[in-house]
Symmetry: C2
Subunit: 517 residues, 2 copies
């Protein structure tokens, strides 16, 4: 099942790539969506300041446990109070304030295909696929543990969907690859089966350095260019409440040192890992994010850093995480306000807690998108395919979500107002009681006038019934298989492919990375 | 099946009402949601002005066909140019501008139960049930033509759902009641089975006057109070493009004359009844809405009037109406901007084109809610139960939508930032690596900390699977039946009930209303 690097597939794949390259340039991707109106502020300037000050108080008075000697040393050198008898680190207010404003407000994350590079920050939006699910599902195969075949197929499917701009991690964990070499095979797949920007997991120094090197090789650039042009990103989750653990600190240090992208996202579910009140959960989220910012900007001032918000709530009856809730929407708006206060790109998510492809999966996702988009999201994690609070990735949901993201992209296109669009002559021509189907203004525009969705079925009831009364789930199931069948691997320079394969082979020979992280 | 007024049910129902009244006051309903942040502007002030000016040009140069002699006479007296040889009426710019600003920015629509009265305008939101569907569906019964039994049951179900604030019309058409007396029986049902504010259809003078009289009797008020306190509303749809037909004009005239509420909503589907460009469709929508405003404010300056936006698009491949589209969302934002420009309450809708309760039904609904709510909607039509582009009302969708409206209500609750909410002491108590479940701050708040949805299933996958893998459709199906079984008729003063019944009986004896409208 696994397509290992040593299979006979390679020559044939190379052949196709060469044909594709010979046939012309890589397909142009659509421009990224940009928010045409200001983000929505859920709290007043005074309230925002109160949340900011509460975070500073948490950082200064309570502090965080930092489980990493080098990180503690770096922070101490910058003026943090490091408790000699414990892992507690307290951040004086002046230290935090000195690090705010150093990171860029906006930057480009480079893909190996330059047409796929994305801007993170400002009014730009970039949509990631689902990431990090331990399980995977489709209708025929049901829910099953993550594996490389499904991992590769989700990459292939996501590659065909233009509204997925980049990879936010492994769409599903390829758990059948040994942990020591999983990052090598999985990044190989991500870099060869797709040409969109990539994410790498912070799971220890060796993996981080391998990922940075693979991103460099895939782009065919030297070390200096890599340091000028961020070419991968990592999500750093604090262990809420108020703890920064070893692999996460390694990630911040190694990514910042090479000027690659850190996205610090506290995992602050209100009522469990954070206070039961949304203001309190957001204040704690903010303290944890600022702690990460201080470390990253201490390692390398100006290194690219994004502010992550993931505050949602738990079901207080059971403790189960809940997503797409009103509380998550509010937290998403305030998180965006805080990111803007610090002039940082803002990361939010498309989430749901549904176990199956039903109304809940759809409405929780759109509610979370509503909070994220109106809150000014720049980097949308888990944009397509996330189910069950992240416990499984779904092939069908990936197609459905991609359609939702496309709809949002069209919603965000600037409203055009000019003589052509105001169509006064058409109104005059058609006149009272007429019909616009046949008029010249319509005829000249009807093909591309409106967004044409993949999933929505707009047939009338009788025709739909005659077709077997298909649901959106049925359509997504058919569509994902059609798209997978039509998938074509994006071209890659054979020399680069060889260098990348050689690197993977060498690192495997060396035994990969330690698995005791 | 029909519960006619003459059945033996009446004495028993009266008995229960009396018991309920003896037992205490009517149940208090929750306060209306209010938008805590400014509505989102999709276009600049200049662009808005260009749309406004295009509408004035349509009104002045092209004009509308007004198929009603009295309306034409009223408009002519105000300075409109009425073509003697046709129905064409042209509205000089000065006439339109003179009528803008006369209608109230906000007013109360009174229910027979004062606790159910709603404010329309300002930052208030009021949510209507589905209205005017010709068919009705639930899972067991399938899709069937509208009938009084289902009509009554939808009223009963909607009455139990607190997030439905008022009736936007008949949830489904009770088509098995003869058209001459349908309005009498249907309004009787609406006024006795529920105590929320009502809508009446503008289907000719007699029906309008009957509805106004029934609203007055149900509230137990005199004519003068009725004229001070709007007690019912009517939706006036222009026959787009640019036509105002007889029953609609009757409605504006009779409602305005008695100071009752007119909501003028052009039915401007871009590409069919309006230009294929959204700016053009909205300019035409605006011209038609302003024409209605001019008539209403000519009949009675200061009479309550709301600006309705219903611009969506058609599927250009088939001509089928599409809902919850990016185009509808954009039009909803701009419609709100125009309503605010004229200081009028804004009406929008919760719509979808789905034929069944699937992801499409959910995402199209939430997208339309997103456009409506962020666009500043005051009166949300079709808030709960709308399916298939309005061609059927669904029992299950009514419960699902009510849950969506509840989520929006909680999303809109003002964000609290104070010491209690910031929870610094709880963060200090729990500290790094701890857990918030058990802390005093959580224990004091967990019961009501978060919104608890009806439909969302947050159980873990295994538990959910053991329970039979229910979908949101399954849960809504079970819930609507449970709620119907638990329904209790709201109390009504026996003398009022008798007066209302006598009015209905008298009007039936007189033969009801003409059916040649």
């Amino acid at each position: 099942m696994e397509l290992s690097l040593e299979t006979s597939e390679r020559p044939r794949r190379r052949g196709r790539e060469e044909r594709q390259r010979a046939g012309g340039a890589a397909p142009a991707s659509r421009p990224q969506p940009r928010r045409p109106f200001p983000a929505v502020n859920a709290v007043s300037a005074d309230q925002l300041e109160a949340i900011h000050l509460a975070s500073l108080q948490i950082l200064e008075e309570i502090g965080l446990d930092v489980l990493h000697a080098e990180a503690k040393a770096i922070l101490k050198a910058e003026g943090a109070e490091v408790d000699p008898g414990s892992d507690r680190v307290r951040f004086p207010r002046g230290l935090v304030e000195a690090k705010i404003g150093l990171a860029p407000q906006s930057f480009t994350l480079h893909a190996r295909n330059p047409a796929r590079s994305v801007v993170l920050g400002g009014d730009h939006l970039a949509f990631c696929s689902v990431a990090s699910a331990p399980n995977v599902a489709d209708r025929e195969g049901g829910r099953r543990p993550g594996n490389r075949q499904d991992y590769q197929n989700l990459i292939r499917l996501g590659h065909t969907l233009d509204s997925i701009h980049l990879w936010g991690g492994y769409p599903v964990e390829p758990a059948d690859i040994h942990a020591s070499v999983r990052h090598l095979d999985a990044l190989w797949d991500m870099l060869t089966l797709s040409d969109k920007p990539i994410h790498a997991y912070s799971l220890g120094r060796e993996r981080n350095l391998d990922a940075i090197e693979m991103a460099r090789i895939a782009r065919g650039i030297d070390q200096e260019t890599l340091e000028r042009e961020p070419s991968l990103f990592t999500i750093i989750n604090s262990s809420s409440p108020l703890r920064l653990d070893t692999p996460m600190m390694e990630g911040v240090i190694q990514m910042a040192r090479r000027n690659q992208v850190t996205v610090l996202t506290p995992f602050t579910l209100a009522g469990a890992m954070a206070p039961v009140t949304i203001a309190g959960a957001v204040a704690q989220q903010n303290a944890e994010a600022l702690a990460g910012l201080v470390l990253a900007q201490s390692v390398r001032p100006g290194s690219p850093f994004a502010y992550g918000g993931f505050t949602s709530n738990v079901d207080m009856k059971t403790g189960a995480p809940a997503f797409g809730t009103p509380e998550q929407m509010k937290a998403a708006l305030v998180g965006g306000q805080l990111a803007r206060r610090y002039s940082l790109p803002y990361r939010s998510s498309n989430t749901c807690a549904a176990n199956t492809i039903d109304v809940q999966a759809a409405y929780e996702s759109v509610f979370s998108l509503w909070g994220a988009v109106m809150g000014g999201v720049n980097l949308l994690m888990h944009g397509a395919g996330w189910m069950e609070g992240g416990l499984h990735a779904s092939f069908e949901k990936m197609v459905i979500d991609a359609d939702l993201l496309d709809m949002i992209t069209h919603f965000l296109m600037p409203f055009q107002v000019n003589d052509d669009e105001l169509a006064l002559e058409a109104v005059r021509e058609v006149g009272p009681g007429g019909h616009f189907f046949g008029c010249a203004h319509t005829q000249a525009r009807y093909r591309n006038a409106f967004f044409a969705p993949m999933i929505s079925d707009w047939r009338n009831y009788e025709t739909w019934q005659e077709a077997g009364s298909p649901t959106g789930y049925d359509r997504a199931n058919r569509l994902y298989k059609e798209r997978l069948a039509a998938y074509e691997e994006p071209p890659m320079d054979p020399a680069i492919r060889e260098e990348l394969a050689a690197f993977v082979a060498k690192r495997k020979e060396e035994g990969g990375a330690p698995t005791d992280f």
